[in-house]
Symmetry: C2
Subunit: 384 residues, 2 copies
Amino acid sequence: MLPDQQFLRIPGPTPIPPSVQHAMSQPMIGHRDQETKDLLHSIKPKLKPVFGTNQDVLMIAGSGTAGLETAVTNAVQPGDEVMVIVTGAFGDRFAQICTEHDISTHRYDVEWGEAVAPQAIEEHLKKHPHIKAVFATLCETSTGVLNPVKELSRVIRWHSDALFIVDGVSAVGGVDVKMDEWEIDILITGSQKAMMLPPGLTFAAVSERAWEVIENNNRPSFYFDLAKHRNQLDNDSTPFTPALSLLFGLSQALELIEQEGLEAVFSRHRQLMNMTRAAFKALGIPLLTSDKDASTTVTAMKPDDFDPDALRKVLKNEFNLTVAGGQKHLKGSIFRIGHMGYCSPADILQTISMIEVALNKIGKSVELGKGISAAQEIMLSGGS
Amino acid sequence: MLPDQQFLRIPGPTPIPPSVQHAMSQPMIGHRDQETKDLLHSIKPKLKPVFGTNQDVLMIAGSGTAGLETAVTNAVQPGDEVMVIVTGAFGDRFAQICTEHDISTHRYDVEWGEAVAPQAIEEHLKKHPHIKAVFATLCETSTGVLNPVKELSRVIRWHSDALFIVDGVSAVGGVDVKMDEWEIDILITGSQKAMMLPPGLTFAAVSERAWEVIENNNRPSFYFDLAKHRNQLDNDSTPFTPALSLLFGLSQALELIEQEGLEAVFSRHRQLMNMTRAAFKALGIPLLTSDKDASTTVTAMKPDDFDPDALRKVLKNEFNLTVAGGQKHLKGSIFRIGHMGYCSPADILQTISMIEVALNKIGKSVELGKGISAAQEIMLSGGS
């Protein structure tokens, strides 16, 4: 193993582009100085297309979970009825946050590895006519499922007045999400996924409809008070000390997205997914999710004849390649590859080639080059 | 193509390890302060094993060519007879430097792509009994040949009193070279190759025998005066302003070499060569040099049915992967892959996989995964 070389292919944190790393090394500036105002002013318009919204996107120092809790505490109040669609560990987290805040929570659980069916939600909504908000996960990081958020939104709008609140962590920046067009009310993400930044910054975009609800919400909230964040951001400022180095990095990450082109970014992610899926199909290693339900940002494999944790151990020890294991009841039965943000087709080829070698090392005999060539075929056919 | 991602697989400059890059970002220090003395003091013992010598290795701000000229101007004087073994562009450069300095230069030219045969040098030495120095290239970067320096040294010692001066650029740090044991009199290298640094620092190690000659050399020389450099380094100092950021980086690069272990570094380079050669053999693309003459740091391919520059263009434009072309009369007929310094087996797999795709793009149909699987086999068999 080469010292000082590591390959990070977990579904976040993801590798940081060198120019973003460099940007983050800038000297600190005064958080109330004009430089910070200029920085926020330049970031605001560039974030909007990434979220598919005309709303300003709020930036709060905190992890993705801080963003999820912000959405919960701002959009609903104790005693409110909500529905949480749970397709994996992060849907479960949304439900936990609601429960913690004494929200009357109707869970709709889906088998892990499958996406939710919008028609099922229709029935669930009919059963619970007082639901104030529906929470869903766009990309369920724990399984690699991409939920049909656009269709869910239609069903919810048709059958209720509930706000539609979406966890876009592991998706926004890599998945084409059209917040305004799809009528998502609150869209959250974190910095350490497709946004190509270290963890520590969470993002929230809020619809006009949601702002009305938020403004009438009397629940006590200080740091997570979205209205405070909006009012300050209107003046290119923040209510509390911003995570400045992450904002330096964000500015450069958005520059890179603009340089590549947002459509090209999404199409690259589709290609990364197609390459990864084609490789494991060729190797005869079962995928956890169907092609239809698959996310373009993370792929989970559910091997039936080897221990995924044994594979992960060899990858880590011999190549310093980190891929993720399973969470909760999928622990020990799946492994997951993150392919979002600063990730290229060449990175997927490299990852697969190391996995082919490692599989043979743990006694799972696969034909060398077989997964790679399937992924290469996708590149040659321009498949994305 | 992913913005801000590039793959540098030329035979130098080579990629810089992140921790070395980081080390080079340290604030400047006074070049006559104790910090600089401490830095040089700590570097000195760590450089010796890399050169296979007990002599202190001198560090001079300048490119590799500055190092070659330093060797020439210190070891010989105008009118002296020397022999220069030319196996490629860098042997040719040594000869040019000698000629420029009015040295009576006997070239011994070898077909590019082949190593010199020590017995041929024996005859050449007999023909020219007054030769004061023999210049040779260890790794000929332009062809990927590794000359048999150990055997050459024996022949030279047996048949003459000439100094043996070796260009170790593209080799030292990646190739096991034993300066003292092999009786090399001056060994030069540059920072931007197997030493994992940016260009700008050249290294010279000098034998006791060579010091005697250097001390009796009356040729005027100021900056390149090796005795000045030695006298200052004895006191942990330099005669002229040192390239401080490169020294910061060097200290960390030597740390990485120590961490991996010098034997493991050399064995990794052998594996990288074996993987590269196996891949191109499997793809049916001819190698320029024989297995016997091959360097562990750079490999040249001489395709017979496609234009290597067309391949290079696709690699650069579509993947931002840079491989080198040919130099001088090999321009347009070969391409070269550098695999030295901060380069792992995983990097070779990635490079080969992109080349397989690119070959198909330029109309040279190769079976996808075929080169990769040959390289993977080497990894599995532990071949190095």
